[in-house]
């Protein structure tokens, strides 16, 4: 390309890579820069390629590890920030689990690089954990006769088929499936409520507060209810007074009101 030539889009695309690598001649470079400013399509393409190259470099270039020299310089200049071997070991599992706080992380890595006693330790721990994983998968078989001994000591026989559930046991187990939906901690409030209900009924319905009187009065009340229902069925009016009946304690108000009417 010469100075007189005008760079078009095709030529720009062809030499874009060289342009980005700074390997084109100075005058061509100027023309390409001018074209990129004028042409929005080529400008966009150039940015895309630039970004793609930057992304690739970011992925492929690993973060440089802390070198021994860096660690030595930091240890000399900031000795107070160093950790000792005990602290290093105390943080080891957190480091391997990735839970080490940022402020400790760098000090820990520095110690790992500088301390000859500790430098191999993380690798050894990782390897021994790997050994444990393979050890775990390498299970021993159950020793011969162990099953039989367990069956003998639990069921009383080594032949499982001979131990069958009896009908009564099966029935018991079946009934067990229908357990009352009140758990043990709920029993106390339920008992209290039952007690209060009984006291309330005995004090309001029963004349003397006794259980037998509660039954007697309940029986009378049931009889009255039946008689009222029978009267309604036979065509007698609902509010007709009930003859030859003594009001029951606790229900007297209703009966007396009806009688007064």
């Amino acid at each position: 390309m010469t100075k007189n030539k005008v760079v078009n889009c095709t030529a720009f695309e062809e030499r874009l890579s060289d342009y980005l690598e700074h390997t084109v001649e100075k005058d061509v470079r100027k023309e390409m820069a001018a074209h990129a400013l004028q042409c929005p399509l080529c400008h966009g393409l150039m940015n895309e390629v630039k970004n793609a190259i930057a992304a690739c470099r970011q992925v492929t270039e690993p973060k440089p590890a802390l070198t021994r020299l860096d660690a030595q310089i930091l240890a000399r200049t900031m000795p107070a920030a160093a950790i000792n071997c005990d602290e290093f070991e105390a943080y080891l599992t957190d480091y391997l689990d990735g839970f080490l706080p940022a402020n400790v992380f760098h000090r820990w890595e520095r110690h790992a690089v500088l301390c000859d006693d500790c430098t191999d330790l993380p690798g050894e721990v990782v390897r021994s954990l790997a050994v444990l994983v393979s050890y775990k998968s390498d299970e021993l078989p159950v020793p011969f006769g162990l099953h039989e001994r367990i069956m003998e000591r639990t069921l009383g026989t080594v032949r499982a088929r001979s131990a069958k559930a009896s009908w009564s046991d099966r029935f018991q187990e079946w009934v067990r499936g229908f357990s009352i939906p009140i758990s043990v901690p709920q029993l106390a409030p339920v008992a209290m409520m039952t007690l209060f209900a009984f006291l309330f009924v005995s004090q309001t319905v029963s004349a003397d507060g006794s259980l037998s009187d509660v039954y007697a009065k309940s029986y009378q009340l049931a009889e009255q209810t039946y008689e009222q229902s029978a009267n309604v069925w036979n065509g007698k009016p609902m509010d007709a007074p009930i003859v030859n009946q003594q009001p029951i304690d606790g229900t007297a108000t209703v009966s007396n009101t009806n009688a007064n009417n």
Binding site: L129, P143, I150, A165
Partner: protein, 197 residues
């Protein structure tokens, strides 16, 4: 996956229900399903085949007597049974530590058991067994409290919280014992040349 898990839980509950009623086949199924896991757990703590066998029997006797206490709503059968087994095995291990005359009866014979169990004699299998016996030897050299935590965390794969529940010690103690146990084990295995850099 969820459906499979739910079905396993239902099966566990059903097996326990039948075993509770006296069904021998259901109980045998439970024994077959868990005996290997429990035996291996017991072996890791005792390092002794006979002691592990006795312990496994004791665990199953206790489980059989406790079947009434199993409640499927509280968790699946495997969790319940393994929790019971772990508690018993750790109790036994602590007891053995307090009474050393009962422990480590014949550690050397036990390691030979690995070799006897090889069967085919294939070289690779032999090496694998040898490695396993060396790792067990390394674990045995750990102090009791560290050994318990390392087994529960790195072999049984319990969470920190589960270890706290089993051992009844604070979480910070569990974490520090796991950390210390791993480091000690790594140093032991390095000295034994099981782990090399």
């Amino acid at each position: 996956m969820e459906a499979l898990r739910a079905s396993a839980e239902v099966n566990g509950a059903e097996l326990v229900r039948k075993a509770r009623a006296g069904d021998g086949i259901a109980w045998e199924e439970i024994v077959t399903a868990f005996s290997r896991r429990i035996f291996n757990l017991a072996y890791r703590f005792t390092s002794n085949v006979e002691a592990a066998e006795d312990l496994t029997q004791e665990v199953f006797i206790r489980v059989y007597r406790s079947l009434d206490q199993y409640d499927a709503k509280q968790g699946d059968l495997a969790n319940w049974l393994m929790r019971l087994a772990r508690n018993l095995i750790i109790d036994d291990y602590r007891h053995r530590q307090r009474n050393p005359q009962n422990s480590m009866a014949d550690a050397v014979d036990d390691h030979q058991y690995h070799l006897r169990a090889v069967g085919t004699g294939a070289h690779k299998e032999m090496e694998r067994r040898e490695l396993a016996s060396q790792v067990q030897e390394g674990i045995d050299k750990l102090p009791a409290d560290l050994k318990t935590c390392v087994i529960l965390r790195d072999i049984e794969e319990l969470t920190y919280q589960e270890i706290v529940d089993v051992l009844q010690i604070p979480e910070g103690t569990v974490k520090s014992r796991i950390n210390r146990g791993r480091i000690e084990l790594a140093k032991i295995l390095r000295r034994m040349r099981v782990v090399t850099i």
